[in-house]
Amino acid sequence: MNTSSLLTLLLILGLLSYYLGRKKSLAVSNGNRGQHRLHSLPDYYGYLVAVWCLLPALVVLLCWNMLNTPLITHAVSNSLPPEVHAVSPVNAGLVMGNVKRLVATRSIATETDPVQKAAAEKYLDLQAFSRIARTLVVLALAIGGFLYGWKRVNPQLRARNQVEQVIRGVMILCASIAILTTLGIILSVLFESLRFFHAVPVHEFLFGTHWSPQTAIRADQVGGSGSFGAIPLFVGTLLISAIALLVAVPLGLMAAIYLSEYATPRLRSIAKPALEILAGIPTVVYGFFAALTVAPLLRDLGGMAGLNVASESALAAGLVMGIMLIPFMSSLSDDVINAVPQSMRDGSYGMGATQSETIRQVIIPAALPGIVGAFLLAASRAIGETMIVVMAAGLSARLTVNPLEAVTTVTVQIVTLLTGDQEFDSPKTLAAFALGLTLFILTLILNIVALHIVRRYREQYE
């Protein structure tokens, strides 16, 4: 029986055991208001029996599916004649690869090599056996679990507490999956970065001012020696982010104040979703808007003013990114400004404050933690944004704070390092992981600092 039909069968068994468990609980208590008062509602006995039926069976099924292929491969590989292994470990791997291909394409009959043919047949046998054994074990567990759970149903059984514990466990599992995934990503980036730092010293990477990651792939090639000073990239990132935030924060905040304090409810109900549409535009669209419209415009304007503006400039990328960030800023700030209680406004108006005085002196301070949160979200989006910068700001890693020149950012370099034909263990490729790690640490510090600020204000303002 394959996995999906097994799952369907388990589902049916689960429903059945819920029904039977519930029924038994009613029977042993002589009805819902019967003489033996049930500890929990009848439903909970049903849930508990269903949990007993499903949980062990599902866990075993999951483990079985994960271990099935490696175990069979291992067994078949061990059964190969010793002369196959004698050639080299790589050879055994190649033979096993071929065997798996034979099984998958169902072409065993056409195979001429008797060793591989035998191995493929053994593989098939083991697979068939495993499938039958799995079905039997899982169904036995399900039925056994059901019987055990069903037998335990009696009025004293604390079914609700046990079901709630199971639910709690499921929630813990969900929470830990997110955390463990993050941890896994960090660790893998960390280990790759460590490999990079074996090739390139940390201080050279962090404080070097020259970025030119081209290295020779083969000994006979002529290529740059490669220098991995990340300073220009971080300066470029900060420059573009700063421009973007300079655009987005005032515009977004003003829009939020207008929408929440001055606009009529009707206008607000139209304008707010319209503004949020900006957040739905794919960044690649912003990217070519920046590269094809804004950048040439800026270059021409600069030309008229006698300034030398590069056709790919930090300014163009930053401006367009700022536009992209407006809805983050405005929508979140609007929500927190609306959440300031009306009693604050009344209190201020009652003192003879004007609307603008009320906004500046009461509402903004009260909404500040949320506004800082919105700012943070916008900032991390700006730092992590790639597409607009690839298209509008260029690839040249120049160390400059002049917004009219082309610069590049950390994320853009990660993209260029990992795309194209690359040897995976060259410093050039590994540099991407080091950049990623540094960027991660940078945003982490930013978040911690901001959280600290928010907490300080929150103590004061709530």
């Binding site: 604050m344 209190g347 009652g350 404050a353 005085e357």
Partner: protein, 309 residues
């Protein structure tokens, strides 16, 4: 709270005369044969004239024929005629939704902040039209302070809360003057001793009763002429309520105070006059002890004896 009992006692002695004199032969008198409440309310709608003594000589507030509409369709109060005297505490009582808070919020144009709210009629503060075109609601509210039901200190320090109004209106020329105003207001609100060591801590960290006194201090810091209080003690415990009631009696010397309250005991304890509102109509206005010991109107009597409301 000795003041409350004494004022009630003196009221008792003169009460029998005033009631018979003010409403001779009034069919709506509570003491006549029991009338159907529906009929009384219908009568009230036909002739919205309060019984008792709504009008005064030389009042602080002179209001005539005041009606308030929400969204053009719903009328919240109907043709209210009422005078509010100088340095008196007037209590507005009545069941929920009877329009007493709405009336109160007309007096400093707080209703302006509600969209779709329209006020008609004549409201004069010291003979000056409150709703005149030339009247700036911002300046008006500096003359007519307000204290709300729920203590609503700003999320600022105690000092900044009290200094908020003076700073807005430029009442202090330097820090020393501002310090003086803050200390003076807090002292008048009976809070200075409790908070003098923590003026820089947030006002939201105080207890509910202290917060409400902070709001009162904030209101009197701009030296208003009138203070409007919308159920100022309904969120407080009896002890905090007692402190604030004593405070109101002290403040009466310098301010005119209009207080909306759900507690009839409170109205009886602190006010000189009481106005009873019912379903948007002003039903009866009189000396507080008259209203509570010998109400003229059936609706008033039913309310104060707890038959409804």
């Amino acid at each position: 709270m000795s003041f409350a009992t004494t004022s009630l006692d003196t009221g008792m002695t003169k009460q029998p005369h005033s009631s018979t004199e003010t409403a001779p032969g009034n069919m709506r008198r509570a003491t006549t044969a029991p009338l159907d409440i529906e009929t009384v309310v219908e009568e009230l709608k036909e002739l919205p004239q309060p019984v008792g003594m709504p009008l005064l000589d030389d009042p602080k507030y002179h209001t005539r024929d005041v009606s308030v509409f929400y969204n053009e369709t719903k009328q919240a109060i109907f043709n209210v005629d009422l005078d509010i005297g100088r340095n008196e505490v007037i209590a507005m009582i009545g069941p929920s939704g009877c329009g007493k808070s709405t009336y109160l919020r007309c007096l400093n144009r707080m209703n302006d902040t509600i969209s779709g709210c329209r006020v008609t009629g004549e409201l004069l503060l010291d003979g000056e039209d409150v709703y005149a075109r030339s009247q700036d609601p911002v300046l008006l509210r500096a003359r007519v302070g307000m204290v709300f039901q729920k203590p609503n200190p700003f999320p600022k320090s105690i000092y900044d809360n009290v200094a908020y109004g003076p700073r807005l209106h430029g009442l202090a020329n330097n820090r020393a003057e501002l310090d003086e105003i803050v200390e003076d207001s807090l002292t008048k609100a009976g809070l200075f001793k409790e908070v003098k060591d923590r003026l820089n801590l947030p006002g939201t960290g105080l207890s509910g009763g202290q917060q409400q006194r902070l709001c009162i201090a904030r209101a009197i810091a701009v030296s208003p002429e009138v203070i409007l209080m919308d159920e100022p003690t309904s969120a407080l415990d009896p002890i905090a309520t007692g402190i604030i009631e004593e405070l109101i009696d002290t403040l009466r010397q310098s301010f005119t105070i209009c207080i909306v309250t759900h507690s009839m005991q409170q109205a009886a304890r602190i006010s000189q006059r009481t106005a009873y509102f019912h379903m948007g109509y002003l039903v009866e206005v009189n000396d507080t002890n008259t209203v509570f010991t010998n109400p003229e109107h059936l609706l008033t009597e039913n309310y104060i004896t707890g038959r409804f409301g």
